[in-house]
Structures are given as structure tokens and as C-alpha cells.
């Protein structure tokens, strides 16, 4: 049976997402089974890039307006500088022929990485299934993650 790797994607930062997708794609290339469990700010990676994120209630509306998300909109964890830092990092990466978070996400999914979205975070933050991209394989809770992680020797929190 193939070895299992799981990653908890808690952060919605671009640089952390790059590192995590890198590990995930590397693992699939070595024949491992990979699951990524997206929770809290990590759900921003799975939000659609286009259109508004609809939610109910003034606080959730505000949250999803200020915390729009989408793989193309992730901030850098350091030196974001209102987007200037991110722009520069993006340029350096393009010059280095390095894939963007959006491209890595698609590549990871095509390589067989399973995407799980945390239903608790979605409920609390007012994120509907329609707000997320179609690459999400399942909607689940902590027990689903732990059942997977129990079988894996490489379990990372990002």
C-alpha cells in the first residue's frame, strides 16, 4: 500500500502555500498518497478567484469582503507591503519559471492530491460550497483528517 502524507492547510499565506504544494507534488512524484485538509485561513486557497463570495449576516459579509481569498489573491507572510512585496515576489518567480500558487494547486490536484475542506470553518466563516473551486474532493471534519493522518508518517501543519 502506498505511503500516506497529510497536510493541514491552516494558513492563507502565499509563501506557505507554495511550500506546502511543493511538498505535496513532490510526494505524489514519489508514489505517495497525499491529502490536504484546508481549514480557517487556509480555505482562502480554495475560494474561487472570480465573482463575489456570498454569505449571510453582516459580520460574515464583512469577513468575506475583507478576507476575499482565492489562490491568486494570497498575501505574503512577510514583506507583503500592501501588495508591492507580493508583486515583486511574483515577478522573481516568473523570471525563475517557477509556478504560481494557482498553477501549483492545479498541478497538485492533477497529480492526485486530495483536497478536503473543513466544514466547521466554512460554517463559522459563512463560506458556502459554491464559493469554493470545483477541485475540492470532499467536505469533512477533524475525524476524517485524523483517520487519514493516523495512516501517515508525514503529517504537516502549515
Amino acid at each position: 500500500m502506498a505511503e500516506k502524507v497529510t497536510l493541514i492547510m491552516f494558513s492563507g499565506d502565499m509563501d506557505k502555500a507554495l511550500a506546502a504544494f511543493n511538498v505535496a507534488i513532490g510526494a505524489t512524484s514519489m508514489g505517495m498518497e497525499v491529502s490536504m485538509f484546508f481549514t480557517f485561513w487556509g480555505l482562502n486557497l480554495l475560494k474561487r478567484n472570480e465573482g463575489p463570495i456570498k454569505s449571510r449576516g453582516i459580520m460574515r459579509k464583512m469577513l468575506n469582503f475583507m478576507n476575499r481569498g482565492g489562490a491568486k489573491r494570497l498575501p505574503l507572510s512577510r514583506f507583503h507591503m500592501f501588495g508591492l512585496g507580493k508583486w515583486m515576489m511574483g515577478r522573481l518567480m516568473r523570471e525563475s519559471k517557477s509556478p504560481s500558487p494557482q498553477e501549483l494547486l492545479i498541478l497538485a490536484h492533477e497529480s492526485g492530491v486530495k483536497f478536503m475542506a473543513c466544514t466547521t470553518s466554512m460554517g463559522i466563516m459563512g463560506i458556502s460550497k459554491e464559493a469554493l473551486i470545483s477541485e475540492v474532493d470532499s467536505f469533512a471534519g477533524v475525524a476524517t483528517y485524523l483517520a487519514e493522518a493516523k495512516e501517515g508518517r508525514i503529517n504537516l501543519f502549515v
Partner: protein
């Protein structure tokens, strides 16, 4: 060294060289040799690690002018 297929990963960074290597090797038959060209120095340790983990045979790594030629024989 003689290879059946050559894969160009020059200018590419992690995880692309090993991702592309895995993809290319899938197309080969057991016993065939894949040549990977790379410029990221990480390939020097990544290629042996990848081969060990996947059970393929690393025939050798040649280094010239900041570029690497990696030879991998598909085992199964």
C-alpha cells in the same frame, strides 16, 4: 551515457524536476533509461533520494558547466 528519452528541466526549480521525471518515467518501459537535464543543484541529492524512494535505478549524475545530466533506469 546512452538514454532512450531525454527530459529537459534546465531552469526549473522544485518541485518541477522530480515531478516531470516521475511523469516521463511513467511513459517508459522497464529497463529503459531516462536522461534528465537540470540546472538546480538540488537534483544532485534529490535524484538519489527519489530513486531510492521509488525503487528505480540511478545510473549516474554527470556535472558540466553548472548543468547536470541524471541517468535513471526504470526498474518496474
Amino acid at each position: 551515457m546512452k538514454a532512450d528519452v531525454t527530459l529537459d528541466c534546465v531552469g526549473l526549480y522544485c518541485p518541477m524536476p522530480i515531478h516531470n521525471t516521475a511523469k516521463s518515467l511513467k511513459e517508459l518501459k522497464p529497463g529503459q533509461v531516462l536522461e534528465v537535464l537540470a540546472s538546480d543543484e538540488g537534483i544532485k541529492t534529490d535524484a538519489p533520494a527519489w530513486c531510492k524512494a521509488t525503487g528505480n535505478e540511478l545510473l549516474g549524475i554527470e556535472e558540466a558547466g553548472g548543468e547536470y545530466r541524471v541517468y535513471i533506469r526504470k526498474s518496474k
